[in-house]
């Protein structure tokens, strides 16, 4: 059982609550076996809510349900839908948690710390998801969103029912979406043509950067592990040897153990801010692309309806129906284009702001930590000399 109170942690928070009328946060999360339970805390002055404050327990699957229902909602087709938070991934620690539950083994301090960090990260992405919804004029009014925030029981039953209803229609569409976009939908609108090209290019580059960042972080952790092994090998000296050399090795083992933490933290810092930022925006760019896909689909529908209308006119049958269909398709397409333009424009601004904020925070964090690490290295160096000289035991 692992609990994290996010309020206490200096873990970076996005905090998109820009409007006091609906403020959401996740003050803590519980990790039980392999299930994470988030406490979703809402404070609101909106009349659509029955109470001014709520605190409910939600699981990751509930967030996914919420995301999916929003995706499937026709009304929101012209909006960028905040990407779903990724599933909490504990991997190794997860197995440990299992074993813990069965009373088999105990967690080392390091494993515990890693779990805690993972937990904090996952809280962050889930929180951001909700805050994106609450800060958007349309999403905040969503009925299912309200249920998510208010309903004090388990959402599991509701989720099951919803799945049967929707069947993931739009989700399946996304798979072939790339072809739809790329296969040369004739784009009349310059804005969307540019957006399409930009998003496609940016999307592949940010995915690449994310993957490379992850690889880099992994090698850094390998380096940290090596210090651990070195320290372990040093600790295995014969107990009977009391020479100066032996003492040096002992001190060395201690220092290397500490160096492991230094290197490990270096890797974590970069991961925390930069890699997480890249990961988040990879997902967000995908959400923007999804909007383009939906619009492209609507355009295709409109073109099909035109063809159908021509055919109907030719045959002289069902013309009125075809006309109505065409009108609706055009309306839908226009609506998507209009709101899509707004969304994509604000998305640009949002992206720049978020990058700025995160790059600054990351840099400040790096500087601060590097200074502490520098101080530590300085102290280790100093201490090692003193101890070896016999001035300190």
């Amino acid at each position: 059982l692992l609990q994290v109170r996010t309020a206490d942690s200096p873990h970076p928070r996005f905090d998109l609550n820009n409007d006091a009328s609906l403020v959401i946060d996740i003050p803590d999360a519980l990790c039980e076996r392999d299930k994470v339970k988030f406490t979703v805390h809402t404070k609101t002055t909106l009349s659509s809510f029955q109470k001014p404050e709520y605190s409910v327990q939600r699981q990751h699957e509930d967030f996914i349900w919420l995301h999916d229902t929003i995706v499937e909602t026709e009304e929101y087709a012209g909006l960028i839908i905040p990407p779903a938070p990724p599933k909490p991934d504990f991997e190794g620690p997860r197995e440990k948690m299992h074993k813990l539950g069965e009373g088999e083994s105990s967690m080392t301090k390091e494993e515990y710390a890693k779990m805690k960090q993972e937990l904090e990260k996952t809280v962050q992405v889930h929180e951001v998801f909700l805050q994106r919804l609450s800060s958007h004029p349309m999403f905040r009014k969503d009925r299912n969103f309200q249920i998510f925030l208010e309903y004090d029981q388990d959402l599991t039953v509701r989720r099951k029912n919803a799945k049967e209803m929707f069947g993931g229609f739009f989700k399946n569409m996304v798979k072939s979406a790339d072809e739809v976009l790329i296969s040369g939908v004739k784009e009349v609108d310059e804005f969307f043509e540019q957006e399409k090209n930009f998003l496609l290019d940016y999307s592949s580059k940010i995915k690449d950067a994310t993957a490379k960042a992850e690889k880099m972080t992994r090698s850094h952790k390998n380096v940290a592990d090596d210090y651990n092994h070195i320290s372990g090998a040093l600790n295995n000296t014969a107990a009977d040897n009391n020479t100066a050399f032996k003492k040096h090795l002992e001190k060395c083992a201690e220092v290397f153990e500490k160096l492991r933490k230094v290197e490990d933290r270096m890797a974590s810092d970069q991961e925390l801010k930069l890699t997480e930022l890249l990961r988040y925006y990879t997902r967000d760019i995908q959400a923007a692309k999804d909007l383009l896909y939906r619009r492209a689909r609507a355009l295709a529908d409109y073109e099909n309806s035109n063809k159908a209308l021509d055919k109907a006119r030719l045959k002289g049958k069902d013309v009125a129906q075809a006309e109505e269909n065409q009108k609706q398709c055009l309306q839908k397409f226009d609506k998507l284009s209009e709101s899509g333009k707004k969304e994509l424009t604000s998305f640009k601004a949002r992206r720049v702001v978020a990058f700025r904020k995160n790059l600054i925070e990351m840099t400040e964090l790096e500087i601060k930590h590097a200074k502490v690490r520098r101080l530590k290295c300085y102290v280790y160096h100093y201490m090692f000399i003193r101890q070896c000289s016999g001035i300190l035991i």
Partner: protein, 527 residues
């Protein structure tokens, strides 16, 4: 004298780090430390790094000495909710004064000198002479010894010739005040086989006496072939640098040995312009040498059981040596892994840097685009830092361990020599016994003409036995002395190297701070 020990070398060897900032704190000698400690440590209230770090920080201070006050414990520990930080390094540069503690009587063994800059790969920071900090005892000890200096450097590798007959020639420079040399400073050019030849000569003369002979660097067919063939890539440059450094360390160890230094062959090696080509060095290189050492250990193992030790010292010492060798091998494997992972980190960082640059080039917002390309440059600098650190990992740690693994092998050889001498004594004693028995038989058989011969034989063998007894005594004494000297040297060597290594880490962290500080305004400039 206490004031001169425990001086910390400046962590930032290059000039650009001299900052004209206001507060410059000087960490001076012990006596001032209490006050300085207060200045430096009390005010530092750095923010928590991550929640994971908090509980651990107490360790380094609580267990490691009362010197640092509990304030410090507080300083880097704990979850401080307030955002204010009086970070030590924000305003000030901690400048550490270095007074080189070399009093004039010291025979210095310096690290690779700056003049080895010809090699492309190894950065200057590693090449600067290591600052040796010594304890009071060590300094006093040295002062009581020779009042002369001897510094050796191996530099300027040059390829002579072409194709498969090509070889590398190295400049061996000596700087000394020892009277036995013709000049005070001089240099010669030597090739690898010359070094092996030197080893052969030294070994032939001194190993029988029970001296620990420093083993030469290993031959490498692969490495040398690449160089011969003329591959101008980084791996062959790395190989040459590795060899150059190893040759230097080898010579430094040879001259650090008091009896070897007196050897005319050593002198000739350092001084004479042209050396006759050393032949028959095959057995002494790489696998040949290794085989010899391994044979030695086998022999020793067989003999240990039989030898009647008057005191346990030799038996237990040999065991210690063997255990230590195992430990060092394990360590070496772990450090090797570190070096490889660090190199991986290097290349992954370079790759990441490029992908960030690509992202920046696609980005439509111009300020963000610029910031991203700046970020790519920062990552590039990080790659260089990792590269430098990998060099430190290798040259300071891995090579040290490799050297000592081989040195321990040489120590075992030394024990084997003693065994051989003992065995010779045993054999002589048994021969003497046989001669005595033969004499007795002759007396009994009453053959007076052969008796004289028997008596002569006995005399001969009696004197041999007492000779060999003396030899054994001497070897025993020498081995003992050698081992003690070796152990002292080893402890000092390891300490120096670890200190140097920690310096390299400190240096890396400092450059990291600079890197990120330079980037911050770029990030802030995004609009």
């Amino acid at each position: 004298m206490s004031g001169s020990c425990g001086r910390i070398p400046p962590p930032f060897p290059d000039n650009e780090d001299q900052e004209a900032e206001s507060d410059t704190r000087v960490l001076d000698s012990d006596e001032d430390d209490d006050d300085e400690g207060e200045d430096i440590f009390t005010g530092a209230r750095s923010n928590p790094i991550t929640p994971t770090s908090a509980p651990d920080e107490g360790d380094i201070f609580s267990e490691e000495g009362s010197y640092i006050r509990s304030d410090v414990h507080h300083a880097t520990n704990g979850l401080h909710p307030d955002e204010e930080e009086l970070d030590l390094f924000t305003e000030a540069t901690v400048e550490l004064t270095l007074t080189n503690t070399t009093s004039q009587g010291r025979r210095e063994i310096i690290g690779p000198t700056a003049s080895a800059c010809n090699t492309t790969q190894v950065p200057n920071s590693i090449l600067k002479p290591s600052i040796v900090t010594k304890t009071t005892e060590e300094l006093e000890e040295e002062e009581s010894g020779d009042q002369f200096e001897l510094n050796i450097a191996v530099t300027n590798p040059e390829k002579i010739g072409d194709g498969m007959n090509a070889y590398m020639s190295y400049k061996v420079s000596t700087q000394t005040t020892l009277p036995m040399f013709l000049n005070k400073t001089f240099s010669v050019r030597r090739r690898f086989s010359d070094f092996l030849g030197l080893y052969e000569k030294i070994s032939a003369k001194h190993s029988l006496l029970g001296c620990i002979i420093p083993p030469p660097p290993q031959k490498s067919v692969v490495g040398m072939t690449k160089v011969k063939v003329g591959k101008e890539d980084s791996s062959s440059a790395e190989f040459v640098e590795k060899r150059r450094a190893a040759l230097e360390r080898y010579l430094q160890r040879v001259v650090a040995h008091p009896s070897l230094l007196q050897d005319p062959d050593v002198r000739e090696f350092l001084e004479r312009d042209e050396l006759p080509r050393a032949v028959n060095t095959q057995t002494l290189s790489g696998p040949g040498l290794l085989k010899m050492i391994n044979r030695a250990s086998d022999a020793v193992n067989k003999m240990t059981i039989k030898m009647n030790e008057s005191d346990n010292w030799f038996e237990s010492k040999l065991q210690e040596v063997e255990n230590e060798e195992q430990l060092l091998r394990r360590l070496h494997a772990a450090v090797d892994s570190l070096v490889n992972h660090r190199k991986e980190l290097c290349s992954n960082t370079a790759v990441f840097s490029k992908s960030v640059a690509m992202l920046g080039s696609v980005e439509e917002n111009s300020a963000l685009s610029r910031a991203l390309s700046q970020l790519a440059e920062v990552e590039d600098k990080m790659e260089q830092l990792h590269q430098q650190q990998a060099f430190s990992d290798f040259f300071i740690l891995a090579e040290l361990l490799a050297d000592y693994i081989r040195l321990l092998g040489a120590v075992r050889c030394c024990f084997e020599q003693r065994m051989k001498v003992w065995q010779r004594l045993q054999e002589a004693q048994s021969t003497l016994q046989k001669k005595r028995e033969a004499e007795a038989k002759l007396l009994w058989a009453n053959k007076p003409e052969k008796l004289q011969q028997a008596k002569d034989d006995i005399n001969e063998w009696e004197s041999k036995v007492s000779q060999y007894e003396r030899d054994f005594e001497r070897v025993t004494c020498t081995v003992r002395k050698e081992v003690l000297r070796f152990e002292k040297e080893k402890a000092r060597d390891f300490k120096q190297h670890i200190v140097k290594y920690l310096e390299s880490l400190l240096h890396t962290q400092h450059r990291l701070v600079k890197c990120w500080e330079a980037f911050l305004p770029e990030a802030k400039a995004i609009a």
